[in-house]
Symmetry: C2
């Protein structure tokens, strides 16, 4: 393949490793663990993998390891650094014994079930070191959760002589990795399963997993373009830029980008839900900021919006739920209504509260809520262009205020949505190092016979040399949650904590950012420059770890 100059130069980068992983390694076991909640249920569901100790990798004596084969899967959405997890795993596995083989299952967990795989050789690995993307073996969203899938997987693992499987994924994929580990352990199949914490969303984190990989690079890439837009905004002084950022559930990405770029406004879904704000409250909040800036002659600004916002507005959530229920029953009747009477039809059939919310929506969004539905008949919330919805409603509110003499200014908006721009960026030095260490750590957990663990590298705001590598029993992160009407053991999703330092830091300064123009321009990720430019972690991590 044709390579860019940067790709060629970057291929030579040797990720920095924690000190303990540089030579021979041994396992140090801590105290037994317990799940974050619902101990009894989780214990019952995971008799073989519950309560295992935390593991720390420390310097040890050189040991001989019998040859073994290992498999690896990329699961779910892309995140920068996946190729480095695999190259770290590859180097680790080969260091244990050069005869060891690494197999990659193709296009996600489906490759395991359908027996699609390749052997990952030095030639292949070397093509992908320090690159973005998951294209080395592809990724997919098949969920590994059924026994026949586990058994189909076992067939091919046995055939290839694979001793351990590494699943690189988000919270759901790691939950399933643990279910699989438990199943193979219960069956005495002799196959270990290790998870790796991946997601740009940043919502897979806890006491032992300081951050998921990819969050750093993705946020830096979004912050680069947000900063560029802010600078444009501050030069042209005539547009409000409404920028939606990927991240369906948690608002970590929006918050991190706000900390990096200091926009006028950043909405945090978790706060909006906690304060039980209505859509009109959100619109009013933005409109007030626009009006306050306009009063000082500044008819421009930047607003960051988390992708999942709509579902965190309690009133919208209720409206969507009723629409789903109502249209499930009245779909045909609704379809028979004349196009220009459909809006009225919906308004007259909903309960009073929801009807009022629906009536307040701009026509395009209202239409989308009733027309664009998924195969199960549900509203497709991800298709709603929240950035346009908000700017349109803000514009209307300002027009009213103008008529009432409460606002003097011009309001003109531009819209952006960033997601795919960052998921496959070449990993920052941090993600390149962190991912490589996660993969390398996985190889040691495997060598030491562990299963049901997630690879863990901690102390991440210190230099890589001082990072602490080890393993965390996945059951330790679990609780029971209702999913599709059933109680299931799952890894707790980490939403933005309103009592956490990152949010509190933001909340303390946002009024100033809203009124004044305090933009910061982070610029593009640098790989070769001074360490304070190239090796900084996210603001989120820095603030969470600040003593």
């Amino acid at each position: 393949m044709t390579k860019s100059a940067l790709q060629i130069a970057r291929a030579a980068y040797q990720p920095k490793l924690p000190k303990a992983l540089k030579g021979a390694v041994k396992v140090q076991e801590g105290e037994p663990t317990h799940s974050v909640a619902d101990e009894e249920e989780i214990k019952k569901l995971f008799p073989n993998t519950y309560g295992m100790p935390l593991i720390k990798l420390v310097e040890g004596e050189k040991k001989d390891y019998a040859p073994m084969n290992v498999g690896v899967i990329l699961s779910g959405g892309q995140a920068p650094g996946g190729h480095n997890v695999i190259s770290g795993l590859f180097d680790g596995v080969k260091r244990l014994n050069p005869a060891n083989k690494l197999y990659g299952f193709l296009m996600g967990p489906g490759g395991l079930v359908d027996h699609k795989y390749i052997e990952l050789t030095t030639d292949i690995i070397d093509e992908y070191r320090n690159t973005g993307g998951f294209d080395i073996i592809g990724s997919g969203r098949t969920k590994l959760e059924k026994i026949d899938q586990f058994e189909k997987g076992y067939e091919i693992l046995k055939e290839l002589g694979i001793k351990a499987l590494v699943i690189i994924g988000g919270d759901d994929s790691n939950t399933n990795a643990c279910v699989l580990a438990e199943y193979y352990a219960a069956k005495n199949y002799g196959i270990q399963v290790i998870g790796c914490p991946k997601t740009i969303d940043g919502d897979l984190k806890n006491e032992m997993i300081e951050t998921s990989f990819g969050f750093d690079t993705a946020c830096k890439t979004y912050s680069e373009v947000i900063g560029n837009i802010e600078r444009d905004c501050n030069s042209a002084r005539k547009y409000w830029h409404f920028i939606k950022l990927m991240g369906r559930s948690a608002s970590h990405i929006a918050l991190e980008c706000a900390l990096q770029t200091q926009p006028n406004i950043c909405l945090i879904s978790e706060e909006i839900e906690a304060k039980n704000m209505s859509l009109d409250d959100v619109v009013t909040y933005i409109a007030n900021a626009v009006a306050a800036r306009a009063a000082e002659g500044n008819n421009f600004g930047t607003v960051l919006i988390p992708e999942g916002l709509i579902e965190f507005i309690p009133a919208m959530k209720k409206l969507i739920a009723e629409l789903n229920d109502f249209l499930a029953v009245h779909a045909d009747e609704y379809a028979a209504v004349e196009a220009n009477k459909q809006r009225e039809y919906i308004i007259s059939h909903l309960t009073a509260d929801n009807s009022a919310v629906y009536a307040s929506l701009p026509e395009g969004v209202a239409r989308q809520l009733t027309l664009d539905r998924d195969p199960h008949g549900n509203v497709q919330v991800s298709l709603i262009e929240t950035e346009k919805l908000l700017s349109e409603m803000v514009g209307k509110k300002l027009a009213t205020w103008k008529a009432e003499g409460k606002y003097v200014g011009k309001f003109s908006a531009q819209h952006h949505f960033f997601g795919y721009e960052g998921r496959c960026a070449a990993p920052s030095n941090f993600d390149a190092d962190y991912c490589y260490a996660l993969g390398y750590t996985a190889s040691e957990l495997i060598a030491n016979g562990k299963t049901g663990y997630m690879s863990s590298v901690r102390n991440l705001t210190a230099p890589a040399e001082e990072w602490i590598a080890g393993g965390v029993p996945i059951t330790m992160m679990m609780n029971m949650e209702r999913r599709h009407g059933e109680m299931k053991p799952v890894i707790q999703k980490a939403l933005v904590r309103l009592d956490g330092t990152p949010f509190k830091t933001f909340a303390a300064v946002r009024d100033t950012w809203a009124k004044d123009t305090c933009y910061v321009y982070p610029g593009p990720i640098q790989y070769f420059g001074p360490t304070e430019v190239c090796d900084q972690t996210t603001k989120t991590l820095q603030l969470e770890q600040a003593k």
Copy 2:
């Protein structure tokens, strides 16, 4: 202001200068020049500034210069490097005589007319070296073309003792700079006017102006995110990404980004116009590529679309012209038609050809063409989401083909529009150097009493040391063109040449790119790394200058 780590590190960058500008400089005059066309008319319109010689700056003897003040204006849309033009100009002016002052007029040419300005001091300049944006003094779109504006400008120039004005802008702004130079010369006001070639669009170039500044950085920034999207596309293997790129007239940006990232498809407006392609031809072209890839199991791809496409499709241009004329007369009648009958109303009132084209458009776009009109009643072409229009029409065509058994595959699209993401990026080394040299050169043209010249720095694919600095009479680039119904002297806009090496290089490989997956991932602009990563020029420039 709070600065990012990169901004702080980057502030120390010392732009590389052409050898001739490093010490004392003298002017070397070439032969008299003539305009690219319409010599007689241009000569008559510019009696004082026509036919001046080309100028080259060469090493000279140290000379004393009397103190002078200089003014600078940023005109039109933002482009990376504007701050470096100003800092080059500042350093140049101060070197001539430390007592010299530089004034910046605020928010574009309007600042000159309205007497809004600041003195640019060392403290201010140092805050903005090597940064993106035009925020140092702001920019604006006021056109300097009327005598009362020239006279209002003269008042303040006289008051501030300004000897020369530097106007940093695109083709129109430089045309106006020349008109202003001619006016002040004719009036014997003793005020020189110098232009600087700015525009990310890349359409201000000719024999003497090899490229406009900002094109390099903007294209690299767009190529970074396009490359990231391609990598995502190639990892998830389930979406076609339709990416629209800024550039209202010429397709230079799309072509350059294609050369950098090797997408499956890149549309070139100039070619579509030359081949007299219809909208359906364009849609069929894309759909064929989608179908060919689907036949090999590849239901994903990337399409680059120049922003100005619609106006280059002859049939669309005709339709828009008729709609403008028709609605100018029948606006009230149309407004009275029921919403769900408006489409039919338009279809039944247009001439046959245009009616057929209109009928083929998706509802949303059709509506936009008749509803969203500017204050003069014209269709707002820039609001048309061409990327969605095309993907929707491609989807429909594929559905037809599927029904006919001619296509087997899945087609799912994502949409992007990049423009504001790149206009204010921190300048690449190339733009930082080039802009600084342009500003520095302007100071020497001023010192040597020149007016009606554009600052010119050539031989740009050689190391900066070997660049050739000088001045080009603006009249030399002019011809007569019809604008708003009147013949006017204007700088010829440089569209993509279908017989030029960049286009021919692209055309020779695009079929392979369409079928196979040949993506290149340029990654983010680097400022500190190896020279082959940090100092490359655009592919366009490399190919244009290849011998």
